[in-house]
């Protein structure tokens, strides 16, 4: 009975946004004009429906601690030994994910109604957004890898469509291409992982597959780490995760992805899609745990990305780019936690990050909305009194991001640091701690520059009501959302018991961001942020950091330009020259042979005579 009920709810969760998107699409295709109000109502109601269903699922499962539920709706394809079905798998992890996706998704839909009200492509926006939510839900609910891949590519496509949403601008379309192609590289690695896993284990069902992996592949000790099957599979999956989550070395698409409308940046490029990589690794934690090398790789990638992105965020001028780099950096934290084996801490941070980063992006969107599409923070200033709501939002968002005590971000980040110490990964712990310092510094740099100091530009609009509602709810979530979901520990079979908190360490983690803010305030008061850099070396460093450690330039000269050059040089298809050569040859021989057929009677008779003489001499002499 409960099974039936749950399966229907889950189906509704996925199908509602999908149906809404399909309906809106068909309406657009047959040129029926629909008022924006109706479009908005339909789109938002669909997500609200999903969110309500998720709440009902929560209620249903409230008293069960350790649950896992799977249900197969329909067969997809079945060829010989290969089969895949449309099935869902619900456990603590996917429950957290669908809650984030539908909940934050709903708030962002609501916000978009106000934000996009004047856009002429209102309907198209909501089609894409609904489609995205549906694909994301498929991704997190899938019980087999092929269906997960369906959602995985689906969210990639929606991300592409939404980054290039304002398609009149050439640059937006380029950014969209970059995002899609870079993630596609990771996705292809992931597809190969799918093939490898299927060949080795004979199934694509995620749970079954991991059980078999555990039985088949014994745990390796980290000394003898070699590239065995499990490591290869894990690394290939990791490549997919890295592409989607904007981690090193496939991180450089994410800052450019900010070309999309701001709600999109909030939903896709902060709260949900980019964390799909974290979800993937967490989902395959049994597999990853089998390979110390892969775990090491996850942690290292996370740590390096964390620092690179955080330092790049230090010098950005575009408010959205600061937040984009911050997202990359925070996901680096999650990868670090995953690599340390602290899966539930990573997912916990994913959740709180979804709240406060969505808040920050939406607040930034409101800021841009009110400031005539101004993105540069140095053109703003002193907005504290002009835009109080946005100021409050930014304050709590930055506070949570900087992990100030009692904010949601504090609990999750503190948990990660704690776990790193528990696992005796002191190097990574230091990196994470210094990352926390930089994070607090750049987030409050943003906050001070925009809201303090002298006023440079006056806002000309007020955020719409729907935007205000969404922002307020997210503020509350950012402050009080730091409650670790109870189901997580069971999924990862971690002990619920919290390890002993060393008071000195806790104080240290509190002191680090606070000191960073103090330093930041000092620098801001000295007006050092906006000053022209005199020294060449410093300017070089600044430009290096500003470009996100020069990865774009590196890839351009390493891959993009050689690729274009190579393909361009063979534009005419050199194989064709073989065939044109063949036709040239026959034309040439035609030319020479046709001179014989010149129509000259005497030439013909002469050749006749000559031939007869030659033939006769041959016959006579032989």
């Amino acid at each position: 009975m409960q099974q039936q009920y749950l399966s229907q709810l889950l189906l509704a969760v996925v199908l509602l946004p999908l149906l809404s998107a399909t309906l809106l699409l068909l309406v657009a295709l047959f040129s029926v004009n629909l008022k924006n109000l109706w479009v908005a109502t339909l789109a938002v109601a669909a997500i609200a429906g999903s969110a309500i269903c998720v709440v009902l699922i929560h209620l249903q499962l409230a008293d069960t601690v350790n649950f896992s539920f799977s249900y197969t709706y329909a067969n997809w394809l079945n060829v010989g030994s290969f089969s895949a079905a449309f099935g869902v798998y619900l456990d603590g992890l996917s429950l957290v994910m669908i809650s984030i996706v539908s909940g934050v998704g709903f708030l962002i839909h609501l916000y978009s109604v106000g934000f996009m009200a004047k856009d002429q492509d209102f309907q198209r926006f909501f089609i894409y957004l609904n489609l995205f939510v549906a694909a994301m839900l498929v991704l997190v609910l899938a019980d087999n890898l092929l269906m997960l891949f369906l959602g995985w590519e689906g969210v990639g496509l929606c991300s592409y469509l939404l980054i290039g949403f304002w398609h009149q601008k050439h640059a937006n379309s380029l950014a969209a291409n970059k995002a899609f192609i870079m993630t596609r590289i990771g996705d292809t690695a992931m597809a190969i992982a799918l093939l490898l896993l299927f060949i080795q284990l004979g199934t694509l069902d995620i749970q079954l597959l991991q059980q078999q992996a555990v039985q088949l592949w014994p745990l390796q000790n980290s000394q003898g780490a070699v590239l065995d099957s499990v490591t290869v599979c894990a690394l290939l999956l990791l490549a997919g995760a890295v592409g989607k989550s904007g981690q090193l070395p496939l991180q450089s698409w994410l800052p450019d992805a900010m070309a999309g409308p701001t709600p999109v940046s909030a939903l896709i490029h902060a709260a949900t899609m980019v964390t799909a990589g974290v979800y993937l690794v967490a989902r395959f934690h049994q597999l990853f745990s089998l390979s110390p090398l892969a775990m090491q790789a996850v942690a290292t990638i996370g740590a390096i990305t964390l620092i690179i992105a955080a330092t790049a965020a230090l010098v950005q001028r575009d408010v959205k780019r600061i937040l984009a780099y911050s997202t990359i950096s925070q996901i680096g934290y999650m990868f670090l936690a995953l690599g340390a084996g602290a899966y539930s801490a990573a997912v916990f941070h994913l959740m709180t990050h979804a709240f406060f980063k969505a808040l920050l992006f939406l607040a930034a969107g409101a800021l841009i909305y009110c400031m005539q599409h101004q993105h540069n923070i140095f053109r703003m200033g002193g907005l504290r009194s002009k835009l109080p709501l946005i100021c409050i939002c930014f304050f709590f968002g930055c506070a949570a991001l900087a992990a100030l005590p009692l904010m949601s971000g504090f609990f999750s980040k503190e948990l990660i640091l704690q776990k790193l110490l528990d696992k005796e990964m002191y190097g990574f712990w230091l990196v994470a701690l210094s990352g926390a310092f930089i994070t607090a510094f750049y987030s409050f740099r943003l906050f001070f520059v925009v809201f303090f100091g002298s006023t440079l530009q006056l806002p000309d609009a007020k955020p719409a009501t729907s935007m205000k509602i969404a922002l307020s709810v997210l503020v509350l979530l950012s402050i009080f959302g730091g409650i670790k979901p109870s189901g997580l520990a069971a999924v990862f079979s971690e002990s619920e018991l919290a390890s002993d908190h060393n008071l000195a360490i806790v104080l240290l983690t509190i002191a680090v961001p606070l000191s960073a803010i103090a330093v930041c305030w000092f620098v801001f008061k000295k007006q050092l942020f906006n000053r022209n850099i005199k020294s060449d070396k410093l300017r070089g460093l600044h430009n290096f950091l500003y470009s996100g450690w020069g990865f774009d330039q590196l890839y351009n000269s390493l891959f993009v330009r050689p690729f274009i050059k190579a393909t361009d040089s063979n534009k005419k298809d050199f194989i064709d020259s073989f065939y044109t050569g063949l036709s040239k040859l026959s034309q040439l021989s035609h030319h020479y042979l046709s001179t014989v057929q010149n129509g000259q009677l005497r030439w013909y008779s002469a050749s006749l005579v000559l031939f007869s003489i030659a033939a006769m001499t041959y016959l006579l002499t032989s």
Partner: protein
């Protein structure tokens, strides 16, 4: 009785003259005449060879060639006249092309 060698020599000479005529003359009429000479060279050879073998076949062949030459001249001259009417020229070099220009 004329020895066969002499007839043979005469016939080859005659044939060579004919071939030479076909090759060097440009006028269609002269080419036709040269062809006739070649035919006659062969005919003479037939008669002589027939005589040498004591066989009447050579003379029969001569008669055949005679009629053949007559009809050939008739058709050939007819064509030459037509050609002349169309092109006002009997130069074979100018008649190299099949289509009329």
């Amino acid at each position: 009785m004329i020895p066969l060698e002499q007839v043979l020599f005469f016939s080859i000479a005659l044939f060579a003259i004919g071939v030479f005529g076909v090759l060097v003359r440009r006028n269609l009429l002269f080419i036709l005449i040269s062809i006739e000479i070649m035919l006659n060279a062969v005919a003479v050879l037939f008669v002589a060879a027939g005589n040498y073998h004591n066989n009447a076949d050579g003379q029969i062949m001569y008669l055949l060639i005679l009629t053949l030459a007559a009809s050939e001249v008739a058709v050939g001259l007819g064509l030459v006249i037509q050609m002349y009417r169309r092109t006002l020229s009997l130069d074979v070099d100018q008649l190299a092309s099949m289509n009329e220009q």
